[in-house]
């Protein structure tokens, strides 16, 4: 893994949006390493439909920030060849559900190239996918597809929930010698929080979960778009006498069993919260891992609060589908198993 140097630009802790942090991460990575190439649909002149790549084509030229033909398998497939020749492509998929045409390349080549060539052909590429709902998108603009990627050995699956992580994890992903599916929670793109542009890479490494709120009564395990929901639920639960710990997984693969298990052993209760479907979703895997490691510490079954097992609903109904604070609190209430 190449190391990520800390930019020297002066500045103090200040507010920024996740979108800005992602754009800055791409810019800094490209400035530092000429092998980093950004490619995708509309990423050049337009700066991407979410403007994450704004200004990159101007600053680095169209050879380094390339508007590709409209073909996701072609985008990822050519990125594979570029990585074979020593470049570090960063591919943008326009929306979650439009990454599916590229799934074949991802599963059949990107994920297994290192393994099938016994290390001779690593795939240092990053696939950025805006994912998840809550922005009123029409069909195919709100899927949570993380379970598909998690089920594919060879892929690292990362999803930031904070502005600092958006920058830091993206820099780490680009620097990684393994392919990373970088899931951007699009409803947090415009969320602001503070970060330190002086030390923007100062975040925990990929594969490390972080306790965002310490607590003793139960553990909420979440990531990406559901982190703010869980933090809000934890605040609300305080009033009812529940002191909740909130864990932000940050990376689904590798999975940080240690942090999750240590927390659940302390609290004895766990709820996994995510937008993606419950059946066959990440929560089932996480609940099973917790049960295997913490069975004797558990005061209640590990519960899941997930999206319904339905195709992503139309925007006018999505608020009924997405796990909100009330559903999380209901689950927490159900953790009083023995009472």
């Amino acid at each position: 893994m190449t190391t990520v140097a800390k930019p020297s630009a002066a500045g103090s802790v200040k507010p920024a949006t996740m979108a800005q942090a992602l754009g800055r991460a791409l810019r800094d990575a490209m400035a530092e390493d000429p092998s980093v190439h950004v490619m995708g649909e509309d990423v050049g002149t337009l700066g991407g439909v979410f403007r994450i790549t704004d200004g990159l084509a101007k600053e680095f030229g169209e050879d380094r920030c390339t508007d590709t033909p409209l073909a996701e398998a072609g985008i990822l497939g050519t990125a594979v060849g570029m990585a074979m020749y020593g470049l570090r492509p960063v591919v943008e998929m326009q929306f979650d559900a439009f990454a599916y045409p590229a799934f074949e390349q991802l599963v059949s080549h990107v994920a297994r190239m290192r393994n099938r060539t016994r290390g001779a052909l690593p795939m240092p590429l990053t696939v950025r996918i805006p994912y998840g709902g809550g922005i009123g998108g029409v069909e195919h603009h709100s899927d949570s597809s993380e379970a598909y990627y998690m089920a594919t050995p060879g892929l690292t699956v990362v999803t930031p929930a904070t502005v600092a992580d958006a920058y830091g994890l993206l820099r780490q992903s680009i620097a990684s010698d393994d392919p990373v599916v970088f899931l951007e929670p699009k409803r947090l793109y415009w969320s602001k929080d503070t970060w330190n542009p002086e030390r923007p890479t100062d975040v925990e490494p990929i594969g490390t979960a972080v306790v965002r709120r310490p607590g003793t009564g139960a553990t909420l395990i979440t990531y990406g778009p559901s982190l703010p929901v869980c933090l809000e639920a934890a605040e609300a639960a305080q009033a009812e006498g529940w002191d909740l710990e909130v864990i932000d997984l940050r990376s689904l693969v590798p999975f940080d069993d240690a942090t999750v298990a240590a927390s659940v052993r302390r609290t004895g209760r766990a709820v996994v919260v995510h937008e993606s479907t419950g059946f066959g979703g990440p929560g089932g895997e996480i609940a099973a891992r917790i049960t295997e490691r913490c069975f004797h510490h558990l005061q209640a079954p590990v519960l899941r609060v997930a999206g319904f097992d339905i195709p992503y609903p139309p925007p006018m109904l999505e608020r009924h589908h997405l796990p909100g604070v009330d559903r999380v609190l209901d689950a927490v209430a159900r953790l009083q198993w023995d009472q």
Binding site: A71, A73, G74, Y85, T117, A120, P122
Partner: protein
């Protein structure tokens, strides 16, 4: 103003802007007949050294195919998709490349990889059931043999594009079957290559069938070479059994790519003499009569006839080439009859640059199982 009102005022409608094709399609179109040299007057110009070289390689290739197929019967290879009948195209694809160029083979193109100089045993690990890729692709500039059809084509485009961005004078030659041209990746690769003017040569081996499905059920195009035109690159139709024609057309395409003129699509019209693989029953979908017609147009025959007629080879020369191929086959047989040494612990290597905690746990589990097995074996 509505359209009706506009009509009433009787103003002349504004004509649409004049339309012109962005590229003249005529130079991109393939010949009506597959391009041939052997058996025509043009053959007299063919370089004797090239003829001899191609002959030796094609005879080797034929023997290699036969040996590999025999190894499947002995259980030494899990499966072998033979290129018997297609050797001219396989060999030409390998020979037109410089050392710095890259070859992107399909699952069938083991022979092209071997003709490029890859150790046959390394080339066969995939088909043997040993490691998926038995060689370092970067060292040999040969991408892994690709089992999913056509997915290696965009890789070739990306690699060639990256090389050009880096200022390297590298060409990628990517191989695919007739069936593979129906896959989406084929179309996306051609489109990217043409738009980027990537230094790529696409070689389609139209060997008549995709397993059992004949070309007529695969495409309604006039020829597969015609597909090039829609993407804005030239299509070339060649007799795939004519090693000299194949070599010339591919060498032209490689030179064109190297000089910055972009990609070419070459369709080699050939025939798969063997079944799809050793596991296939070809009598279900084709007749012996059809096979016999192609037998008369065998790539070895075509070369041998030309060499003999021009007095470039005699009986002894032919025998020497065959003996050489026999020696290669014997060596291959012997080496393939040794059991490969596989370490189960390698299963966890190279999934990621560093093992995840999950893989470390699983590696420890397998280690314990192997140790227990070893102890049990000793007890």
């Amino acid at each position: 103003m509505t359209v009706m009102e506009q009509r009433d005022t009787r103003t002349a409608p504004v004509p649409p802007p004049a339309w012109q094709p962005r590229t003249d399609p005529a130079p991109l179109l393939p010949d009506a007949e597959p391009y041939r040299i052997l058996g025509t007057d043009a053959a007299a110009q063919a370089d004797p050294e090239l003829l001899r070289r191609l002959y030796a390689e094609v005879v080797h290739g034929r023997r290699y195919n036969a040996q590999a197929t025999a190894l499947t019967r002995q259980g030494r290879l899990a499966v072998y998709p033979s290129t018997t009948g297609q050797e001219a195209a396989e060999v030409a694809a390998a020979l037109v490349l410089q050392e710095r160029d890259w070859l992107f083979p399909s699952y069938r193109d083991t022979l092209a990889a071997v003709a490029r100089g890859l150790d046959p045993v390394q080339a066969l690990t995939l088909l043997r059931g040993d490691w998926h890729t038995g060689y370092d692709p970067r060292e040999h500039r040969i991408a892994p043999l690709s089992t999913p059809l056509a997915t290696q084509l965009p890789h070739a485009v990306g690699l060639a594009h990256a090389a050009r961005l880096k200022g390297d004078d590298v060409v990628a030659l990517a191989m695919v079957g007739d069936g593979g041209t129906s896959e989406g990746d084929f179309h996306e690769a051609l489109n990217f290559a043409a738009v980027w003017r990537a230094p790529v040569v696409f070689l389609v081996q139209n060997n008549g069938f995709a397993i059992s499905v004949p070309l007529a059920k695969q495409t309604a195009a006039p020829s597969l070479a015609h597909k090039a035109v829609g993407y804005g690159m030239p299509g070339r139709l060649v007799d795939g059994n004519d090693a000299v024609a194949m070599h010339e057309v591919l060498a032209d395409a490689v030179a064109r790519a190297r000089e910055g003129h972009g990609p070419t699509l070459v369709e080699a019209v050939t025939y798969r003499m063997d079944a799809h693989t050793n596991a296939d029953d070809a009598t279900r979908y084709r007749t012996d009569a059809e096979v016999e017609i192609w037998r008369a147009h065998d790539p070895i025959l075509l070369l041998e006839r030309e060499l003999t007629e021009r007095g470039l080879i005699d009986e002894a020369g032919i025998r020497a080439v065959r003996d050489d191929a026999e020696t290669m086959a014997a060596g291959l047989r012997e080496r393939m009859n040794q059991d490969p040494a596989l370490d189960p612990m390698d299963l966890f290597g190279d999934v990621y640059a560093e093992r995840t905690p999950q893989l470390r746990e699983q590696a420890a589990q397998l280690r314990a199982e192997l140790d227990a097995e070893a102890e049990g074996g000793q007890a």
